[in-house]
Subunit: 313 residues, 2 copies
DNA sequence: TAATAGCCATAAGATTATCTTATGCGACGA
DNA sequence: TCGTCGCATAAGATAATCTTATGGCTATTA
């Protein structure tokens, strides 16, 4: 057929070894194999590549010209293989992650820090966006994976797994009367009677809370304040303006520093699933696989949590 | 085995056609052939190169990276083949010819002019040197062919063919008494008695002359002048300082312009063989072959004139 | 000069790569 | 839910390539 890299590789070996036999020995093939390949190369090009001297061979003018190309082709091929090996070995690549706000602010930075430490050569990209955007950008390939609080998309190409159940907990200023030593544990009704700082209507978090309360026949009695930002809510609570229900993820620092405290609550637990979104298994590249592995290591996924559309099987 | 240009060519076809079947159709191979080659490529690299979507395929990140290399490799391979085709088609190459003085000055310029006209893209190089130098430079590859007056080298690697018998003729000023209308044709003894302008002792030309005369029992009687240069001899003869014996090749112009004339001589003819030297057949490149063909066309070689060392056969 | 060793070419047979045809399986659109 | 499209797989055929054995030519050595 046509000329391929093998022909050129053998040709180069001969040129550099100065003889067919020497080249054969050096690259561990039989001498006739070299004879044939070089002969075929010469036949296909219609040119003599080597002067056959008694002892060894010497390049012809055409051979010298070809040697330059053979070397360049060989070097390029090696470079290509190296590049591929780098992708395989996570020394090269790109990882683009999209996350919804809470995850993006309170969970992902740590995770990506660890990722960067493990694979410092991977180009890291990270965006905070709403669920809809993440879904769209996953579909068009702009993102490799997404982490969302919202409802998973109804698209079969995208795998959706719950990787963590986020606890929503009531918080208050540490000197809140309900936290005094002799105070009893709250029940749900008592909590609802507290002055409550909430997110705006339409917020996913608020909807989750209200739906859960409604299910228990309760509703918030005193929404003293409506804020559009979790951080603002935390500060308002820390200032003693009321209590609030927020994701456990968002208050780690404040719990440690004593700026906020969790109100003990009895007989009620409010969680929402956090979803890991990405393309189905066969299409993931190494950088993405490594990210998913890291995520699964930190937050073991719930078995059977994958949500997929109806299948024939 | 290893990755070769065929794998990459098919890979590229798929990437550019946007699907296995489309690529197969476009390059006239069966679709499974593509599946297998791309599959093997992926297996060898340990990477997925294409996202298999329902309809058609799409490059992965690794695939995009590889595509760049595949394109560069393909382009380089095409360039190499084109370069080889140019050498084959005499659109590229070098021709280095060495010649002894007489041939170099009076014969080769015309010949190389014709060569240049036929193959304008061949890089032409042309040196005048003595036979020994030419032989050496042929051996080390600095020259592709040599044309000499001297004795051929006793080297079996170099083919030596007589391509022309150079006539050495006696010349005189056109008003020389021996050229008058009623003068009779010279014989050899009479010529030897003329005042003769000769090359220095040791010159190849002079040796040839003296040997030939000695063979006939004659010798030059009156060497009036010794000059180291054929052109000087011609001018001396034209000035009426004597007669000389020179190569027929060197006096074409002067015969036409009437500056010199040939002395008719009876019963004696002096020729010396001119040799064409070059490597044996199997090692000649196209540019050299074309030169030899041109030489043979202008000066058909004597059959059986090739001189070679003793062989077993 | 003859014998010898080194090196490339060739032949025959075995092995490996690659292609083709036929078919399966999953995805998409009506 | 059913065809249709497109890739994957299997089996058999073909072509490319390798290896061992051998021959011829060249250069070296006695």
């Amino acid at each position: 057929m046509g000329v391929n890299l093998n022909h050129l590789f053998l040709f180069r070996a001969v040129a550099e070894a100065g003889g067919f036999s020497r080249a054969a020995e050096r690259i561990h093939v039989s001498q006739p194999a070299i004879s044939m390949q070089v002969g075929e190369l010469e036949a296909q090009l219609g040119l003599t590549l080597f002067h056959r001297l008694g002892r060894g061979v010497k390049l012809t003018a055409a051979g010298q010209l070809l040697l330059g190309y053979a070397q360049r082709l060989g070097a390029l091929a090696v470079e290509a293989e190296r590049a591929m090996a780098e992708v395989r070995g996570l020394c090269r690549g790109r990882l683009a992650i999209g996350a919804s706000t809470t995850i993006g602010v309170y969970l992902l930075p740590n995770l990506l820090g660890e990722y960067r430490r493990r694979y410092p050569d991977i180009d890291l990209q990270f965006d905070i966006a709403n669920t809809e955007d993440i879904e769209r950008r996953l579909a068009d390939g702009t993102l490799d994976a997404g982490l969302t609080e919202g409802l998973p998309p109804n698209c079969d190409e995208i795998e959706t797994v719950v990787f963590l159940r986020d606890q929503l907990v009531p918080i208050a200023r540490p000197d809140h009367p309900r936290l005094s030593a002799d105070s009893k544990v709250l029940n749900l009704r008592q909590l609802c009677a507290e002055p409550m700082i909430v997110r705006e209507a339409g917020s996913g978090t608020r909807e989750v809370i209200e739906r859960a309360l409604a299910k228990r026949g309760e509703k918030l009695q005193r929404t003293t304040m409506v804020l559009g930002n979790t951080e603002a809510i935390k500060r308002a609570v820390a200032a003693g303006l009321g209590v609030a229900i927020v994701s456990h993820l968002t208050i780690q620092t404040e719990l440690v520093s004593g700026q906020l405290a969790i109100l003990p609550l009895r007989g009620f637990e409010l969680t929402r699933p956090l979803h890991r979104l990405c393309w189905r298994n066969r299409d993931r590249d190494p950088a993405t696989l490594a990210f998913l592995a890291l995520l699964d290591q930190r937050y073991p996924p719930e078995v059977g949590s994958e949500r997929r559309l109806t299948h024939k099987s």
